[in-house]
């Protein structure tokens, strides 16, 4: 009998006796249930006896069955087995009960026949069910740990089980639901022929572009674009990271801001700004036409345009991943190389570059996957160059309404992600990339060899100038009366969206955008820390622990990221619109969608950073008697600070700028800014759309600064350049 065990049994009883079993109100912040403590609002114990809902009893019996554990010796194997059995039985019974009865009665025809009649009805599960399920899960984990799983470490077993359960419910279940429709025909019957017909279609795999003027299949288009963008964004990201950490470039701060700007720009805006600059009637095009007689053309519509827009948008992600990794490279290894008379280039090639391989691989993977899933830029700029993401979106919402085709195309997209994922693993191999160890490391970061430095400048400066031009356009165009035509300045757009007046009862937010604005901030602020926490926890488990099915598990965490938002949106409606888990129309479904969609970024940057940190640091802590929870808190987390910042920032930003998944999940009460912006773009009100985007950019910038301030910098005991100067002088 341990304290944790007592705690979880008590938690289980709280779920049974105190909290309402069902979710009645659609708001997660609904706490009025204790005021009206009857009917569907009552906890399960009350439901069973007063409402005659006998079918709720079995899970409670499982909890009662676990009670003898309280009186057993803490080390007995009987105790452990009892806990595992009770935990599994409890969860299984809850699952069976929830699946058997929905809002219309018995869910399955054979149950109806067996029991007769429609059967009882029940709403979706609520707080009580949630808490009881958590208690069962944890009881099972306590038992498994006592049986010796994960070297008997209850924290690790619980963490693995929790992540597996969450990913199972919120990634695997909905994705499975929607992918099932790939195998069905229009009427819902299983039809493999239809599947292969759609899968092998010429419009997907055709190779006509190699030997004629016709276009290639959409699959090849997508892969080509993704490889270009993945490689390009990794290289540019590396150049930015090297300049930010290894040179004395005077405008580092400015560079960092500019590299972060595209990531916080709502979709459509970059594409729109590119049209305003380089389109047929764009500012730059007009200038070139007048001064250099270059004819106006539509060159940006196509592969080139999308590739440039995506490079602008995704390089910052590569930068965020790489800067932590470049910073982490141990200077003493480089110093050793220089001491052994290797030239700057050789040191960079044989020491630095191999050490940042995990960063490069993860940056490429993210760029590749992001490019394949991106929907806003191809929509505006792709011209006749078709990619899977837009094709999938219009398969669902377009005139043909073919959800099956969307699912088939999503499977193809997933296949590519799988290949990229394994290619990355192969490339990294089994080498060690550890550079942050417990040993004193007082080396100085080696300056870049001059050739490389100039190369980096040559890449970064034009990139930065382009970004600057884009943002000046974006800023100005929100003040233009009509974008692209009437350039007189006005505040009109900001007033329409964000008017604030002094009313009778104080401030009155009269602008039409306020509603979605507050919702967006609330949802993003809730989902960002959750995303970072679960992402980094998963990264820790994957990088530091060994358990069966680890690789498969790692891929599953990537699933929701790799599947296009449209498909995720539809899958969430299919999975969470009916009991037992009924979440549509709530804010919770948006939070959950964001958490599991953006969690892979936390996982990726966590793994990349962790692979640099010597395991002996953890081991030292464990040897000194610390539990693994303490080790995580006191040793691993402080060293993970760059990964924490990047996953917090990224998940906050993505929640504020996501479009395609959100379109299906927003409701009247919970409307998101991007849905509002898309509506404005559709109505042709570019000024208002861009003005709103600018406000969002401002919010996100302040949020990033706040996050950086709160989390703080990672301090690796390394000398500062100034101190180094003193040492050198003293030595000389």
């Amino acid at each position: 009998m341990t304290r944790a065990l007592r705690l979880w049994i008590a938690v289980g009883w709280v779920g049974v006796l105190i909290l309402p079993w069902y979710a009645i109100d659609s708001s997660f912040w609904y706490f009025d249930w204790y005021l009206k403590y009857d009917g569907d609002n009552a906890p399960t114990a009350h439901q069973i006896f007063a409402q005659g809902r006998w079918y709720l009893a079995p899970p409670v019996l499982a909890l009662i069955a676990a009670m003898p554990a309280l009186f057993m010796h803490r080390d007995s194997r009987r105790l452990s087995r009892l806990l595992v059995a009770a935990g599994i039985a409890g969860m299984a019974l809850m699952l069976a009960e929830g699946a058997a009865i929905d809002h219309r009665g018995w869910s399955w025809a054979w149950l109806q026949a067996l029991m007769g009649g429609e059967g009882p009805k029940q709403p979706g599960m609520g707080y009580g069910a949630l808490v009881l399920a958590a208690a069962f899960l944890m009881l099972m984990c306590q038992g498994l740990a006592a049986l010796g799983w994960c070297r008997g470490d209850a924290f690790i077993v619980s963490a693995v089980a929790l992540v597996v359960a969450l990913v199972g419910v919120f990634v695997f279940f909905p994705v499975f639901e929607v992918l099932l429709s790939a195998l069905q025909d229009d009427k819902g019957n299983v039809a493999l022929v239809v599947f292969f017909e759609k899968f092998l279609d010429h419009s997907v795999w055709g190779l006509d572009c190699l030997n004629s003027s016709l276009r290639c299949g959409v699959a090849w288009n997508t892969v080509f674009l993704a490889v270009v963008v993945g490689a390009g964004s990794t290289l540019f990201g590396l150049a930015f990271a090297l300049i930010a950490t290894r040179t004395d470039f005077p405008f580092k701060g400015l560079l960092r801001v500019m590299s972060v700007l595209p990531i916080i720009t709502p979709p459509f805006v970059i594409g729109l700004a590119m049209i305003l600059l380089f389109g047929r009637s764009g500012v730059v095009t007009g200038f070139l036409n007048e001064w250099l007689d270059i004819p106006r053309s539509r060159w940006i519509y196509g592969l080139q345009g999308v590739a440039i827009a995506q490079l602008l948008a995704f390089t910052p992600i590569a930068f965020l991943v790489l800067i932590g990794v470049v910073q982490g490279v141990s200077p003493s290894l480089e110093e050793a190389s220089l001491t052994l008379r290797a030239k700057g280039w050789k040191t960079f090639n044989t020491v630095t570059l191999p050490l940042i391989r995990p960063g490069l691989a993860n940056a490429f993977l993210l760029g590749f996957v992001e490019s394949m899933a991106d929907f806003g830029n191809p929509l505006v700029l792709a011209g006749n160059y078709e990619v899977l993401a837009t094709k999938i979106f219009f398969a669902v919402v377009g005139a043909s309404h073919d959800q099956g085709r969307a699912a088939v195309l999503a499977i193809i997209l997933l296949g590519f992600t799988l290949v990229a994922f394994y290619a990355q693993q192969m490339w990294l191999g089994k080498k060690s990339y550890t550079t942050v160890t417990g040993k004193g490391d007082a080396g100085l970061a080696v300056p870049l060899p001059s050739g490389l430095r100039w190369l980096c400048y040559a890449a970064v400066i034009p990139f930065a100038l382009l970004t600057a031009a884009m943002y000046v356009t974006i800023l100005l165009s929100s003040f233009w009366k009509t974008v692209g035509r009437d350039y007189s300045l006005t505040f009109e757009h900001y007033l329409t969206g964000f008017k604030v007046e002094w009313g009778e009862r104080g401030l009155y937010f009269g602008g039409s955008a306020w509603n979605s604005f507050w919702t967006t901030i609330e949802i993003s602020a809730i989902s960002a820390p959750l995303t970072a926490a679960i992402g980094l926890l998963t990264a820790y488990l994957l990088a530091r622990q060994k358990f069966a099915g680890q690789r498969a598990f790692e891929f599953c965490t990537m699933l929701s990221f790799a599947i296009p938002g449209t498909v995720i949106g539809v899958s969430y409606i299919l999975a969470f619109n009916v009991p037992p888990i009924e979440l549509t129309g709530t804010g919770v479904i948006l939070v959950i969608c964001f958490v599991f969609r953006n969690m892979p970024v936390g996982v990726r940057s966590g793994i990349a950073t962790l692979s640099q940190i010597d395991k002996s640091l953890d081991e030292a802590s464990l040897t000194l008697g610390a539990k693994s929870f303490t080790t995580v808190r006191r040793v691993v987390l402080p060293l993970l600070r760059p990964a924490i910042v990047s996953s917090l920032v990224y998940s906050f930003v993505r929640a504020m700028t996501a479009v395609s998944a959100v379109i299906f999940l927003v409701s009247a009460q919970y409307n998101m800014s991007t849905a509002y912006i898309v509506g404005r773009v559709e109505a042709g009100e570019y000024g208002l759309a861009i003005a709103y985007s600018n406000v969002l950019i401002l919010v996100m910038l302040s949020a990033i600064l706040l996050i950086q301030f709160l989390v703080g910098e990672r301090r690796l005991g390394r000398r500062q350049p100034q101190q180094a100067m003193v040492v050198v002088q003293a030595g000389g």
């Binding site: 047929r280 219009f394 005139a399 043909s400 299906f664 042709g684």
Partner: protein
């Protein structure tokens, strides 16, 4: 019938009186979950007016019609929306055919234009026309003048090699607008002739956009010289002052019927019907035109359209067969033929 109208009027009056008697107590009058397929501002104006009139509290979400159809289909087992107002007619018909929506009768059919009632009959009484808009195209006057090209007047003009790479139209696979165009030329020229025409037009098309309204936006920004679109999607940009002109083609043209359907299994059927009846009254139908948020033609004969809206009496209309061209067999056949004979051909 008059009895029903009388009862309805009495009901409306009573609700009005009650809402006056109990200001601020909107809850008591019930709730309605509306999913709106028109432009945001129009949706908002309608909601505000309806709330004032009836005291029913409306929770409104705006989405494009394709998104709405996909959503209603996905959540059919447990519908969260009560009524679907606005958006082009084809997805409404499709939803009606699949039983996603339920039957309802207009309070006074005699006030409605025949095309609105035809939609009602085609859709098994599960959907009804609320607005109509004509197909057409627009051109950017500035770009045409720069290129010294004549102003196109007919569908046939657009296939003239002079306009090479100057015409933009959406992809009918993804956009209902473009499918309407495809069906329009098929009905004007006959199927084989129409595909001859589309093949010629293919050489002039600079881009098949994914979104139906994209050509109108590209026109307003000067990214394309000619764009095929519904006229009411083009007019707002003309009103904003873009150098554009809207054309009703000389051969005649098709049209769309923006519709309204009550969701099957709606949680608030009474309130949904109240919206249904109110939305067809002349008063409600004038809201869009009056607030300049809609440039379509109202279904109620007594409601006045906006002066800037395309004048239906001056447009030569074809007898568009929504039942035939909205059916999935014809649609699939035409789209497949378009893919192989037009889109996948070299330019």
């Amino acid at each position: 019938m008059p009895l029903r109208i009388l009862l309805l009027l009495a009901g409306v009056a009573l609700t009005g009186a009650l809402s006056l008697a109990a200001p601020g107590n909107a809850e008591a009058q019930g709730n309605l979950v509306l999913i709106c397929g028109n432009v945001e501002d129009w949706c908002r104006e309608m909601v505000t007016a309806f709330e004032k009139r009836t005291g029913i509290k409306v929770a409104m979400t705006r989405k494009s019609s394709g998104e709405i159809y996909a959503q209603l289909k996905a959540e059919a087992a447990n519908p969260k929306n009560d009524i679907w107002w606005g958006g082009t007619g084809d997805p409404h018909l499709q939803a009606a055919g699949e039983g996603l929506t339920q039957e309802a009768k207009p309070a006074d059919p005699s006030q409605l234009h025949p095309w609105a009632l035809r939609q009602w009959k085609d859709g098994k009484e599960r959907t009804i026309g609320v607005f109509a808009g004509a197909m057409g195209f627009g051109f950017n006057t500035k770009l045409l003048a720069e290129k010294k090209l004549p102003e196109p007047k007919c569908w046939a003009d657009l296939a003239d090699p002079k306009y090479k790479d100057e015409v933009q139209v959406a992809d009918p696979n993804s956009a209902g607008t473009a499918y309407n165009f495809l069906a329009t030329v098929v009905q004007i020229m006959g199927e084989d002739k129409a595909f001859e025409y589309l093949k010629k037009l293919h050489k002039n098309v600079n881009q098949y956009t994914k979104s139906g309204a994209a050509p109108a936006k590209a026109l307003s920004l000067g990214e394309t010289a000619v764009g095929i679109n519904f006229q009411h999607d083009l007019v707002p940009f003309v009103v904003q002052g873009a150098p554009m002109k809207v054309v009703s083609p000389c051969e005649g043209t098709g049209y769309e019927v923006g519709s309204m359907s009550i969701v099957k299994g709606a949680k608030n059927p009474r309130e949904a019907k109240a919206w249904y009846d109110w939305a067809l009254t002349a008063e409600a139908q004038e809201i869009g035109p009056r607030t300049k948020t809609s440039f379509q033609v109202p279904a109620n004969k007594n409601a006045k359209p906006l002066a800037e809206a395309p004048d239906f009496s001056k447009i030569k209309f074809i007898d568009y067969d929504f039942a035939k061209y909205g059916s999935s067999e014809v649609r699939k056949r035409l789209l497949t033929r378009w893919d192989t004979e037009v889109k996948n051909q070299p330019k």
